[in-house]
Symmetry: C2
Subunit: 143 residues, 2 copies
Amino acid sequence: MTFHLDDFLPYRLSVAAAQISRRFAARYAEEAGLTIPEWRVLAHLNHSGTVSVRDIHNRVNLDKSMISRAATRLQEAGLVRKSGHEADRRLVSLELTSQGKTLMQRLGRIAEDFQTELLAEIGEDAPAMSRVLDRLITTQHME
Amino acid sequence: MTFHLDDFLPYRLSVAAAQISRRFAARYAEEAGLTIPEWRVLAHLNHSGTVSVRDIHNRVNLDKSMISRAATRLQEAGLVRKSGHEADRRLVSLELTSQGKTLMQRLGRIAEDFQTELLAEIGEDAPAMSRVLDRLITTQHME
DNA sequence: GCGAAATCGTTGCGATTGCAATGACAATAT
DNA sequence: ATATTGTCATTGCAATCGCAACGATTTCGC
């Protein structure tokens, strides 16, 4: 039997993820013109308070350079404050401004609404799906 | 309660997909130096015979330009043959050369092995996962 | 304490990407 | 038949991305 791309899990996962990301990006594009890296940085800052670029890099699966640039843009937009870390002067401390917090409250609601819709679409298999994602993501394949 | 990125389905899906794609790309990079678009074009040609750029575009979730460029590179590598369509001269007919078929036989095996490993990692939730992907992918959200 | 190695954020740069425009051809309407 | 509209693949271009320096700092080894 010949190989069939449509049955190939990595491919299907990739297509699904791209479609979902696109749908969600359309939602928050109406609210604020953010790129995906910007959205991720904002969202991470929202629940983790003050952190460094490296912290976000490790948690959020984004290249350092993207985070750095996203943070600069967000600062220019008045959503994020960048400042030097007290003890270690190599580090940059990132945190939301009050304006950034206000925006994230709205975006957080939008995100949760979207997820609710999504879970409804997915239906009863949602918990299994969630378990799979946990297993795939935490499986750090050291080489 | 504050929004948490780690619990957000689109984000987790995106991270999982990127990681899996990366793992798989490492596998076939050893076998042949292919980019992801090249791999997809090859894989699609493998099971669908002779088709046009547009056909692949519709089936494989890739921009026309990427397919066009991938096809050119694959032709230069001797894996794909490009020729004008008989009846409609706007179309370009793409098909694997015998060399391309030979390569895809090896790659198909690699892909299937990888998928088998992946399914083992996923475990009993695999069927549910598969159903979810079906539902997400086929849900073409017309706007 | 001092030099070497590691870490952090930024920047440069080549490669990749997605979108829009183009040119070639086909289908449709009049 | 001709003109208009639509479709197809390619190309150009701007934006994005990821990797690899790089300077600034800190940590480690001795």
